[in-house]
Amino acid sequence: MNRRYPIWLIVALTPLVLGLCLLFGAEGLGLPSGPARRTILYLRLNRVLAGLLVGAGLSSAGVVLQALLRNPLAEPYVLGISSGAGLGAGLAILAGAAAVSFVAVPLSAFLAGMGTLLLVYRLASQRGGPSIYSLLLSGVIVSAMCSSILMFVISIAPVQGLHSVVWWMLGNLEVYARGLLRLSGLVIPGGVLAIWLLAPELNALTLGREMAHHVGVRAHLAMAAGLTLATLVAATAVALSGLIGFVGLIVPHAMRLLVGPDHRRLVPASALAGGMFLAVCDAVARTVLAPREIPVGVITALLGGPFFLILLRKRRARGWIE
């Protein structure tokens, strides 16, 4: 198995890359100088940490959903988790709940994300368990509905606070509440760890629920746990940073090509690589047109798309059977 070293490579690379990201700022490359340098460095550190957490959350949620739904297209968006969480978080922000407690926004996001997932699950299950296709289909539809409702709410919202919601919706790693970052710093690593502990079950469930059952997995319990954990980390990420697409889809695929499909390695690799990827994208977003900032979601798609296509062409069918 010569797929052993990339995971250590990824582990070793993470602090390096995150450190490099600290050097990127609106004033150009290098450590900040001047009277406000401590504050600026502190703000940059917050953004880098937010990138690490959000990227890790979205990527590991993508890993779980791809394994449980046995579909390479699954990611938090496709199942409506992100959009549902976005609707919950958006409503909380507009209602001014963020001012009451920093827990309000992620809690609202998690509850709405979980509610969306349950709704999608219910819609997809006609008799017995849901089929994968009806799950994906109802996920896409519910996702679109959630986005529409959020847009409707925004369009009738009072002008004050509108800018922050729209900016948040585009995906933004600027930390608007320190407490939220701290909370995410607990929830997302905890969720990723729990997902990693589920690795044997995730491996077995990719063979289908029946095979997983035969090798001793309590399939329904493991699926419920996996979906809840994926929703938890994805919703926390959405509450922290808004709607950032692409990360949950491409990072797991890229990592499957690099470290193989075994979830014992795939989960940590995806979490770290997702974190690095988003931190780098954010560094690019805040420097490339400085002093203007580009929404980081634009960069993830522009950087991630071609990168993913190259990987796919080079090592087609490694990790996924097409």
């Binding site: 046995r70 990719t206 059952h213 090798v215 001793g216 996924w320 059977i321």
Partner: protein, 416 residues
């Protein structure tokens, strides 16, 4: 002997639709049992019950005298492994990773698989001859290799019972045997109990010491293969004519679906009596039946190749005891069949003192005004009678009006 599987009074089904009705049987530990039956008989439902996938309504199911419901998922996985018909996964695991999934029930969550788990996986791969393919991704395996990987995955569970759910039906004959031999060896050496669903009755008869025949959720046959695979039972269950065939050379039992002869699109239906032996008549009999003619046959010795074929195709045949000279009584009975026929065909069978009396059938038929067709090519070379008397008698037949037809084709043309 303890029982590996005990089922009693089992009722199970889906929704309002009952599938298994009051099913009861037990399977002795270390045995190899086939579960047969037509589609919809309840075989798969029974498997789903035995693996705990489908909750049942009434009755009891125990594995090694422990109620199934009382077993945890992990304990159950250490007792029972399932080899499915095929593996459908979108993930390109390597062979080794797939086999390791068989260890799921015992794996530690923290860190890499223990060395004991790795050892079991190595052993399972060695047993199934997959060592050289261990790093190969699943999508780069052939059908037979993929199925062996599934067997290895089941072995990695170190189960005491293996359920095979049509595990070989996608494979060609060669790989089918390969899989079955691995499982058989496991059964013999490790005393793993095997219960296999198969639509291949012959494969089941070949490898299983006991067969259970299910129909409409009930047991309609249970016992050693020859007792279960009877023509009557199979006709009732499968609603199609079959011939059961005991192969004297291999000691095995073969089931052949009997195709009902299609009437010839052109030409007339005639009845033909065939004098054959030693396999010389087989092709003719098949062609006559395919052309829509009614065929009778004899006299043949029991166990003769032509006799087996005639039996398989449902041809009325006069039989003599095995390896015995043909007696006048048998000739007379065959003569009655020939008298009812439109024509008598004397095939290119070798003649000796034992079967020379068969010539009388043709001689009598000719005297009675029947058409007699003689396949007399190279007759002298296959005449082992004293003073070549068979050659002389056949020549006389032709002189008196029998038609000489050296080839099969000419026979068929003559009959048209």
């Amino acid at each position: 002997m303890s029982d590996a599987i005990t089922v009693s009074g089992l009722h199970a089904g889906y929704g309002a639709h009952p599938v298994l009705m009051d099913l009861a049987f037990s399977i002795e530990a270390g045995s190899m049992v086939g579960l047969l039956g037509p589609n919809g008989a309840g075989k798969t439902t029974l498997f789903r019950v035995l693996t705990g996938l489908l909750p049942f309504r009434r009755g009891s199911v125990s594995l090694f005298d422990r109620p199934l419901a009382a077993l945890s998922a992990r304990t159950r996985a250490r007792l029972v492994a399932v080899i499915p018909q095929e593996l459908a996964t979108p993930v390109a695991f390597s062979v080794e990773q797939l086999v390791m999934i068989g260890r799921t029930a015992g794996l530690s969550r923290w860190g890499n698989p223990a060395s004991s788990d790795k050892k079991v996986v190595e052993r399972a791969m060695a047993y199934t001859d997959l060592m050289s393919l261990r790093a190969r991704p699943l999508d780069a395996l052939s059908g037979g290799e993929k199925q062996r990987a599934l067997v290895a995955m089941a072995l990695a569970q170190e189960p005491r019972i293996i359920l095979m759910d049509e595990a070989t039906s996608h494979l060609d004959i060669n790989h089918r045997l390969e899989i079955m031999q691995i499982v058989e060896q496991l059964n013999r050496t490790e005393r793993v109990t095997v219960l296999m669903i198969s639509h291949d009755l012959n494969l089941a008869a070949e490898f299983c010491e006991r067969l259970i025949l299910l129909d409409h959720g009930e047991t309609v046959g249970d016992g050693p293969p020859p007792a279960v695979l009877t023509q009557d039972a199979l006709r009732r269950v499968y609603h199609c004519d079959v011939r059961v065939h005991h192969d004297p050379t291999a000691g095995s039992l073969t089931v052949v679906p009997a195709r009902s002869p299609q009437p010839a699109p052109t030409g007339k239906r005639r009845s033909v009596h065939v004098v054959a032996g030693g396999g010389c008549g087989s092709e003719l009999i098949r062609h006559l039946l395919m052309a829509g003619h009614a065929v009778s046959c004899g006299v043949l010795n029991e166990g003769d190749a032509d006799a087996l074929l005639a039996a398989a195709l449902g041809v009325e045949t006069v039989l003599e005891k095995p390896f015995s000279p043909i007696t006048p009584a048998a000739v007379e009975r065959a003569g009655q069949l020939a008298a009812r026929a439109d024509a008598v065909v004397l095939t290119d069978v070798p003649f000796g003192s034992g079967n020379e009396p068969n010539l009388e059938i043709a001689e009598h038929a000719l005297l009675a005004g029947r058409r007699v067709l003689v396949m007399d090519a190279a007759l002298a070379d296959r005449d082992y009678t004293a003073h070549k008397s068979a050659t002389r008698r056949v020549a006389l037949l032709v002189e008196q009006g029998a038609r000489s037809c050296p080839t099969l084709r000419e026979v068929l043309e003559q009959l048209d």
